[in-house]
């Protein structure tokens, strides 16, 4: 039987492809493996190109940008209140937390201060965003390491947190609730009691995960000593949040900077871990979730009365100036450098997103690790694609 020309070309192509694979396997650098952009472990469309020698990574490069939406250009054509709808979607799991630094920066330029009740509610929602975000991380951590069950517990308990956020803001994922000068609405009746019950549930979940995952010997073997980030290297790459606290650096913007939230009114603890490996980072996040639930409880107890919005003009024009506000978001330190020219909208906003810096350390960190460890490291660094790509 004679082959058609198409079949002949296909045959030659297949031979050539085989030859290429063989050549790749024989060269020094080894086989190139593309992890992503569509991959279960990359939390979105992140692409890691790794050159492998067997199962060991010789060289790795990270290619972000598959989800780049150009936020810094888009905010230039919007008015200040319109910007919060955009920036909600940067870190979409801890969405309220994205709005906070921007609104605080605008308030700083306008030299107004939100009333105490508004600040408290902002902080409560900020910490609840942290809880929602990290609870999903804890479940996903198990899934990426092979334990399929914690994911379901995580989503089940996260639903309750999202229900509470929805009861206040109207949106589970994208609340768009912060306003320059305060917040949009007051809390509904009975919300505080419900929230405290939900926070108790989350604490139960944290205990469950601690037994199921962190107490598991296989989990410890998979995460201890993997992906060690020395503190100075982490600082020079701009690692923030639980990533740098897991390397022993006692740096938490909620305590050390003063962005304008209510954290100084409550009693809470900053968790660090000296090891700097994946286990340390995950462990710090677990403790932070528990701490966040306690913060929410205390804030709910001490919630002052009063207005929820300062006196701001109906059309907001932010005076000329530059301000930078950074807060300790669930993923790390997120900041907005707002340049205003006295207009209705910002002149330039530089968005400092946490995952961008967290992921920039990957090419340095992934050298010499095994393929399964790549997944562990990606899981422990924890990033959201919207945060990397903006």
């Amino acid at each position: 039987m004679t082959l058609t020309e198409r079949q002949q070309r296909a045959y030659v192509d297949a031979q050539a492809a085989d030859a290429r694979v063989n050549v790749e396997l024989e060269t020094e650098e080894g086989m190139t493996l593309n992890i992503g952009p569509q991959h279960p472990a990359t939390h979105g469309t992140l692409r890691v190109v790794a050159k492998l020698d067997g199962e060991q990574v010789v060289w790795a490069d990270v290619v972000p940008g598959y989800m780049h939406r150009g936020y810094e250009k888009l905010v230039e054509v919007r008015t200040f209140p319109q910007v919060t709808t955009l920036i909600n979607r940067i870190d979409w799991l801890g969405s309220f937390a994205n709005e906070v630094p921007f609104v605080l920066a605008a308030e700083r330029l306008m030299e107004i201060e939100a009333p105490a009740r508004a600040t408290y509610i902002r902080t409560i929602l900020f910490e609840m965003a942290r809880v929602a975000n990290i609870v999903l991380f804890l479940g996903d951590l198990g899934a990426q390491l092979g334990a399929v069950t914690p994911v379901f517990y995580a989503f089940r308990d996260r639903e309750h947190v999202l229900d509470q956020i929805e009861a206040v803001t109207g949106g589970r994922f994208h609340p768009n609730f912060d306003r320059i000068g305060g917040i949009k609405d007051d809390l509904p009746k009975g919300w505080i009691a419900d929230t405290k019950a939900v926070m108790a549930r989350v604490r139960d979940f944290c205990d469950q995960v601690e037994t199921l995952l962190f107490g598991n010997e296989i989990f410890e073997t998979r995460t201890r000593g993997i992906g060690v980030v020395p503190a100075e290297v982490g600082l020079s790459y701009g690692l923030t949040g639980a990533n740098i606290r897991g390397s022993g650096v006692d740096w938490d913007l909620r305590r050390d900077a003063n962005p304008g939230l209510a954290h100084d009114q409550v009693d809470w603890k900053v968790w660090t871990h000296p090891d700097g490996d994946s286990f340390a980072r995950c462990w710090v996040r677990l403790q932070e979730t528990r701490e966040a639930t306690k913060i929410v409880d205390q804030l709910c107890d001490g919630l002052p009365g009063g207005p929820i919005m300062a006196k701001v003009p109906r059309i907001i024009k932010v005076p000329e100036g530059e301000a930078y506000v950074e807060t300790d978001n669930p993923l790390g330190a997120m900041g907005y450098y707002v340049v205003s020219k006295g207009d209705l909208g910002p002149f330039r906003v530089k968005i400092r997103s946490a995952s961008f810096s967290n992921v920039s350390i990957l090419p340095w960190l992934l050298r010499g690790v095994y393929v399964p460890d790549i997944i562990t490291i990606l899981a422990s660094l924890y990033f959201i694609l919207g945060d990397i790509d903006r």
Partner: protein
């Protein structure tokens, strides 16, 4: 059906016996697979994860498996452009074949067996390695780097865990004094544990170490978590099965659960007393009907342990997996053999 057809009232021609045997083995393979998939994968896993599982198809989702089979059968047959067509097509059949071959030697009743092999244990352990070949073929022929990685990991893992399995079973063989699975069942039925004869001598009590090693090794042979590196879902997407879809994937899927059933049946035969119930007469005719049911129950008990571990534990890394096999399981099983030999001689 025995070769002599003496216990049945009718004479069957050879070709009729063959047909019955073929249908029988299909039933023997598919019924455990289906039961395991429904009970453990659909329902037990769901309940453990605080959800209900499939509820729509049939009462409590019992027809879900039929629906899934129908779905997979009607899918388009996709073969990657650069894949080796013949090998790609052959791989699932190789893996499924090994399951059938394992079940050939397992007895279901005093006269209900497919082949009464005097080297039953040896046969089972030998043919269970055929699936390794199938997985390797699948990994290479898929023309996909992820599949290749999965296939290579599978090769290393499955070969490494063959040894603990063999050595764990040796203790049973020493205690029973025979490789014939039917006689091992008889030995467990009629034996005594250090003089106490009420429940026979299921080897799980005296060979508890062997049983545990066998369970761990089975978990690895089935590439179930915590040993599912070859199919590491969050890394290799599906490992060696990534490029397979439709009927071919269905064969892999059936093979996975059927081999879980087969290994569980072997474990039940070797350690739990197989198809026999201790106080019931070994040669009774009605045991030909009750025996398979008893074996199915014991198989489900063992499979419960296997799947429970699967849903709970994260997975080992490849080198940690190998360490476990070579540095821990093999020495332990050697100790087990020594102890069994010593105790057998003394008592």
């Amino acid at each position: 059906m025995t070769a002599t057809a003496g216990t049945l009232a009718i004479e069957l021609a050879y070709w009729q016996q063959t047909v019955l045997r073929t249908v029988g083995v299909l039933v023997a393979v598919l019924i455990p697979a289906g039961t395991l998939v429904y009970v453990f994968l659909f329902k037990m896993m769901s309940f453990m994860q605080s959800r209900l599982g499939p509820m729509e198809a049939g009462p409590y989702g019992s027809m879900q498996l039929l629906a899934e089979v129908g779905k997979w059968i009607q899918k388009e047959d996709i073969v990657p452009w650069r894949a080796d067509r013949k090998l790609f097509a052959m791989a699932p059949y190789v893996v499924v074949a090994s399951v059938f071959l394992i079940l050939l030697a397992v007895p279901f009743g005093p006269d209900a067996w497919f082949a009464d092999l005097d080297v039953g244990v040896f046969w089972v352990l030998a043919v269970s390695s055929i699936s390794v070949l199938g997985i390797l073929i699948a990994g290479w022929a898929s023309a996909n780097k992820y599949s290749l990685l999965g296939g290579l990991r599978a090769a290393g893992q499955l070969i490494a865990y063959e040894l603990p399995m063999v050595l764990a079973v040796m203790g049973v063989v020493i205690q029973a004094g025979t490789l014939n699975l039917q006689q091992i069942v008889a030995a467990q039925h009629s034996g005594e544990i250090f003089g106490f004869g009420g429940i026979g001598n299921p080897y799980i009590f005296t060979q508890i170490l062997g049983f545990l090693i066998f369970l761990v090794a089975t978990q690895a042979e089935l590439t179930q978590a915590p040993f599912d590196m070859p199919v590491a879902e969050s890394e290799l997407v599906s490992g060696y099965m990534t490029e397979y879809s439709g009927m071919r994937f269905l064969l892999f899927f059936i093979a996975e659960f059927a081999s879980a059933g087969a290994f569980a049946a072997v474990a039940a035969t070797l350690f739990l007393g197989g198809w026999s119930i201790p106080w019931v007469d070994l040669d009774a005719d009605y045991m030909n009907v009750i025996g398979p049911v008893v074996l199915l129950t014991k198989m489900m008990l063992v499979a419960f342990l296997v799947f429970w571990a699967r849903f709970t534990y994260p997975r080992f890394r490849e080198d940690q997996l190998q360490q476990l096999a070579w540095k821990i399981l093999i020495p332990l099983s050697l100790v087990n053999i020594l102890a069994t030999m010593a105790l057998k001689v003394m008592f």
